[in-house]
């Protein structure tokens, strides 16, 4: 019997009413009295020396209030990087300055050179075009391998190299891995590219800066997944504004996928300009600006080797990756190819020896940072592609080779630092075999063949580290932040509840699912619970939403705060009923004295807390409001098994996804419908990466895929109806809800399944020479691969 409320109920998302009827309040909906508008003049060359920026003519144009250039920011900090990676040689990474506005050099197309503030946006843009910029064009650094070759042009002259770091993980394992590979029965090697992606959230980035000269308080309204992080980074490291004089508000946010984690120059500019001009200043990205300023994702070039014994047991894995950082280090960029990637190279398998080498490279391209999955899709893609290739080379069924190597006892300590607390990979595979109807594949293949189409089946297993992250652990690994989460639960006098969470919903549905948890804990209707987020003025210091962490970390903080509330309310109830606290039970919104018919309901206890006429004032403070912080003991480890069936048109190379099934283990589930939606969206994004999306730079560093005419986003008719299942649940062992996180799984699990399916189709169709095709598997690439 499906539940209709509380934990486990598929209730509709309350926020959708305003999103679907145009009543959301996004940052661009915010317009303040006296507001001026910003247009940026951006570099149209990838690499050049700034010899002069002449703003005189532009400054005299109609409506222009002020023009800022790099000189205006000489006295403030650059945009900070939040993670410091230490390389194999024990040296910390190269960390170039990232000025708010370009100074000395421009380093990628889109690098901001000047910001024009004017009465209207059109006036600002007219003036921006009138700025005379003298740039000495320099050779662009685009290709990563070339960037590391001697004599390459340098993105940052002062660093003396384009190598950000050379990271080995775990360096001490390197020799043992080499020995295991040398002695192995079989070694499968694969060279592959994890294609560069552009996030393309539906809502472009927006920033509105405001300044109150009476109070000296600055306010930034911004499209962010983590307003407290922006307040800390921008306040402390860039503009020098203490937290109590800086408020950051991220209202409704229309998608982020990671790209709205980071602190961007436009946020600092609008805050700085509002204070300098003593009036509100607004910037809204044009879509074409989003393409060249939002941090891109992925962009790894990898060689992976998998060593096996004669029975197909994995003996060792060795990888070597070039990871593109772009022109500057975005907020969390260094962590993505390292600790979010190397730690996942064990996958779902017992491989005793693993060594990961990553060289991070500066290029004259947009900075690259976390994008839905962040490092974990890159790890999964390599691993599951090389497993598929090995299975084919050794003549082992792809389901069987995976089963033969599954981790099957927990907890499991991997050779790449992390320890999986729980899981059941055989169960998810069993579930997948059923829901994907693998038994019916051959019949479907014959039906496709009768239509002249090649059908293929691709499998994938994934594991991800979510619930990011234990602060003490990430601190040791170079994080310059804690990764706890916070919540304040405020109970009102008549029993209604407002939860202020440090998490931030940018489409995930927290306002619904978090309310379900609180309602369930107390036994009151969801309608009595409101979830508030996104404003540093009312929420406690929180780290925001990314890494599938909101429920596992933010939800846990909320549960802790709610437990404090319940504990205090129980004391009040005991007082009201003149019973011992230990005898009080909370059920269905009533406190009862165990074994009696005496009870007092939730509302009466709340009223007593705020109208303490009959109240244990000597022992308890009045009021009912509690705050809790939660720092996780470990990551969570969602895992799953995916199957994709494709049809390939051998005449054109066009790939059509006919079936897609996903069996996921997310631990406990609060709202199955919301989880379905998260998985659907993730799979759609993964299919986009596998078949359609690719950011392409030419040799001069110009972005060729700079509009939707050339950057292919997935559309509804590119996607099949998915079969998703999350009934194989092994609850997380270390957080109070037993939840693991589901936001990124689809994007991690789907690309290898799609590519494996296409390779399978080509093999079955007689194209045995095709062992790999780099993503996206466009018709042209598939056709070219078939030609040999």
């Amino acid at each position: 019997m499906p539940k209709d409320s509380g934990i486990g109920a598929s209730i509709k998302r309350r926020e959708d009413v305003r999103f679907l009827t145009g009543r959301g309040r996004y940052t661009d909906d915010i317009n303040l009295r006296g507001q001026a508008h910003v247009a940026f003049l951006r570099s149209n060359v990838a690499h050049g020396r700034l010899r002069g920026v002449d703003t005189a003519a532009a400054a005299a144009m109609p409506g222009v209030v002020r023009i800022f250039t790099g000189e205006d920011f000489a006295a403030v900090g650059g945009l900070p990087c939040g993670w410091q990676v230490t390389g194999r040689d024990g040296q910390v990474m190269k960390e170039p300055k990232h000025p708010v506005l370009a100074h000395g050099k421009v380093r990628h197309v889109g690098d901001p050179i000047a910001a024009v503030v004017a009465e209207t946006y059109e006036q600002a843009r007219d003036a921006a075009e009138a700025i005379a910029v003298d740039i000495e064009s320099l050779p662009a650094v685009v290709d990563m391998a070339a960037a590391l070759a001697p004599g390459s042009a340098l993105v940052h002259d002062d660093l003396g190299t384009n190598l950000c770091y050379d990271w080995g993980f775990i360096e001490d394992s390197k020799a043992a891995v080499a020995a295991a590979i040398a002695a192995a029965h079989h070694v499968t090697t694969l060279d592959l590219v994890n294609n560069r992606l552009i996030p393309n959230a539906m809502e472009p980035r927006v920033a509105v800066g405001d300044y109150n000269s009476a109070s000296g308080e600055s306010t930034l309204y911004t499209t962010s997944q983590n307003p407290h992080v922006i307040r800390l980074l921008m306040g402390a490291f860039v503009l020098g504004i203490p937290e109590h004089k800086l408020r950051v508000v991220a209202p409704d946010v229309g998608g982020g996928f990671g790209s709205k984690i980071f602190h961007y120059a436009e946020e600092a500019l609008c805050t700085f300009a509002a204070r300098a001009l003593n009036r509100p200043v607004k910037w809204t990205a044009q879509r074409s600006e989003s393409f060249v300023t939002d941090a891109h994702g992925r962009d790894h070039v990898t060689r992976i080797e998998l060593a096996l014994d004669r029975d197909g047991h994995f003996l060792a894995i060795r990888t070597s990756t070039l990871a593109n950082m772009g022109a500057y280090l975005s907020t969390f960029a260094p962590s993505v190819p390292t600790y979010l990637h190397g730690t996942l190279m064990a996958g779902n398998y017992k491989t005793p020896h693993i060594y990961v080498n990553v060289k991070a490279v500066f290029t004259n391209t947009v900075p690259v940072d976390a994008y839905r999955g962040a490092g974990r899709p890159e790890a999964t893609f390599q691993l599951e592609r090389v497993i598929d290739k090995a299975a084919r080379e050794m003549g082992i069924d792809p389901v069987e080779i995976r089963r033969r190597n599954f981790v099957d006892a927990f907890p499991y300590q991997t050779p790449v630092a992390v320890a999986y607390d729980t899981g059941n990979y055989h169960a998810t595979m069993d579930k997948l075999v059923t829901i994907a109807d693998l038994a019916g594949f051959e019949k479907r293949r014959a039906a496709s063949a009768a239509k002249g189409l090649l059908r293929g089946l691709g499998l994938n297993c994934y594991i991800e580290a979510c619930g990011i992250a234990p602060s003490h652990l990430v601190g040791q690994l170079g994080a310059r932040a804690g990764l706890y989460e916070s919540a304040t639960v405020r109970v009102n006098a008549t029993g209604g509840i407002v939860v202020m969470t440090g998490s931030h919903s940018h489409g995930q549905g927290h306002e619904t699912t978090f309310a379900q948890v609180i309602a369930d804990m107390i036994g009151i209707p969801e309608a009595q619970v409101e979830i508030v987020h996104g404003d540093t003025a009312n929420a406690p210091m929180g780290m925001g939403t990314y890494g599938s962490r909101s429920l596992a970390v933010g939800g846990s903080a909320m549960v802790r705060a709610a437990n404090k509330i319940i504990s205090k309310a129980r004391k009040i109830a005991a007082h009201l009923m003149e019973a011992a606290e230990g005898d009080i039970e909370l059920k269905d919104g009533k406190f009862r004295v165990a074994g009696t018919d005496k009870s007092v309901d939730w509302g009466a206890v709340c009223l007593a807390a705020y109208v303490p006429h009959n109240y244990p004032l000597a022992e308890l403070e009045p009021g009912l409001e509690e705050t809790a912080f939660y720092d996780p003991a470990n990551f969570t480890f969602p895992a799953g098994a995916y199957a994709c069936e494709v049809e390939v048109d051998p005449e054109t190379g066009r790939v059509t996804i006919d079936r897609f099934a996903a069996a996921d283990d997310f631990g406990n589930i609060v709202n199955p419908m919301v989880v379905d939606g998260q998985v659907h969206g993730g799979i759609g994004q993964g299919i986009g990466q596998a078949l359609l999306e690719r950011a392409v730079y030419d040799a001069n560093g110009q972005l060729l895929s700079g509009t939707y005419m050339d950057y292919a986003m997935p559309r509804a008719d590119d996607l099949p109806s998915y079969v998703v299942d999350h009934s194989c649940a092994t609850p997380c062992t270390h957080n109070p809800l037993g939840v693991k996180g589901c936001g990124e799984a689809g994007a991690i699990g789907s690309p290898p399944a799609v590519v494996n399916a296409v390779i399978d189709a080509l093999h079955r169709g007689g194209h045995a020479h095709v062992t790999h095709i780099d993503m996206p598997l466009s018709p042209a690439r598939v056709w070219a691969a078939m030609q040999g």
Partner: protein, 261 residues
């Protein structure tokens, strides 16, 4: 967008007069021009909207000729040509998305002559003629290469006249991002013979594949073109396909169009 003046005449004569002004630019459905203006890549002094000219809208059939007003939207063509010229209706019904189809016009598309647009293939294959405010231009004379046509400055496409073929079909292979034609082939068979027009593929814009026309005139079956190869030289090479791939697709799409005709 830069500032511009705007006028919306009610007759062709008024439009012609307005277009005689300095820096005047005709605006059809705006599906190319408006994005270009928004990117500040064009700065006309005066936009002359053709959308208010009732005489330039509509689809009619008489004596084996289907006439489409130059200001007729793709959606209206998809409806109005469905009975008389279903291949043209199907082409129009698959241009862009509903928003594009209810704004974009046949005249605007032909005047722009995007090398990946669909309509040029239909006009060239059907042997249609382009009617303007001052003359009638045969399809074979109208298309002059990528984004180039026989139109003079200020000349307005008021209608397109299609001789309705006996058999016809359009086969489009879409570019994954834009969904314009990576290669589109329109095949038309009439008493006068077979014409095969290809869009999307060539650096020279829409063209007739005469080799296939000859083969299909002798034997109008897909098998007749299976062995033929379009030349890769002169084909477009870009992110979405090499010249060789496009040349290959010309053959595949031609066979599919014949099969569907």
């Amino acid at each position: 967008m830069y500032a511009f003046e705007f006028t919306r005449p009610k007759t062709v004569a008024e439009a012609v007069a307005a277009l005689a002004g300095e820096d005047a630019q005709a605006l059809g459905g705006g599906q190319t021009l408006i994005p270009t203006l928004k990117q500040r890549l064009a700065s006309p002094g005066m936009l002359v909207s053709l959308a208010g000219i009732a005489a330039m809208r509509g689809v009619s059939v008489a004596g084996g000729t289907l006439t489409v007003g130059g200001g007729t939207t793709h959606a209206a063509v998809a409806r109005g040509a469905a009975a008389a010229f279903p291949a043209l209706a199907a082409l129009a019904g698959r241009i862009g998305d509903p928003a594009v189809r209810n704004r974009g016009t046949i005249g605007g598309s032909l005047a722009n002559n995007d090398p990946s647009a669909c309509y040029p293939a239909a006009v060239l294959a059907a042997g249609a003629s382009v009617v303007t405010d001052r003359r009638e231009i045969a399809a074979d004379d109208f298309f002059r290469g990528m984004f180039a046509t026989a139109l003079e400055a200020g000349e307005i496409i008021t209608a397109v006249r299609f001789p309705v073929p006996q058999r016809a079909a359009y086969a489009k292979f879409v570019q994954p991002a834009s969904r314009f034609a990576l290669v589109g082939v329109f095949v038309a068979k009439s008493a006068a013979g077979v014409r095969v027009a290809v869009t999307g593929a060539s650096e020279g814009g829409v063209f007739r594949w005469t080799q296939a026309e000859a083969a299909l005139a002798a034997d109008f079956r897909p098998e007749a073109v299976r062995g033929l190869r379009a030349a890769a030289a002169g084909m477009i090479g870009d992110l979405h396909g090499s010249p060789e791939y496009r040349a290959h697709l010309v053959g595949v799409m031609t066979a599919r169009a014949v099969a569907a005709a």
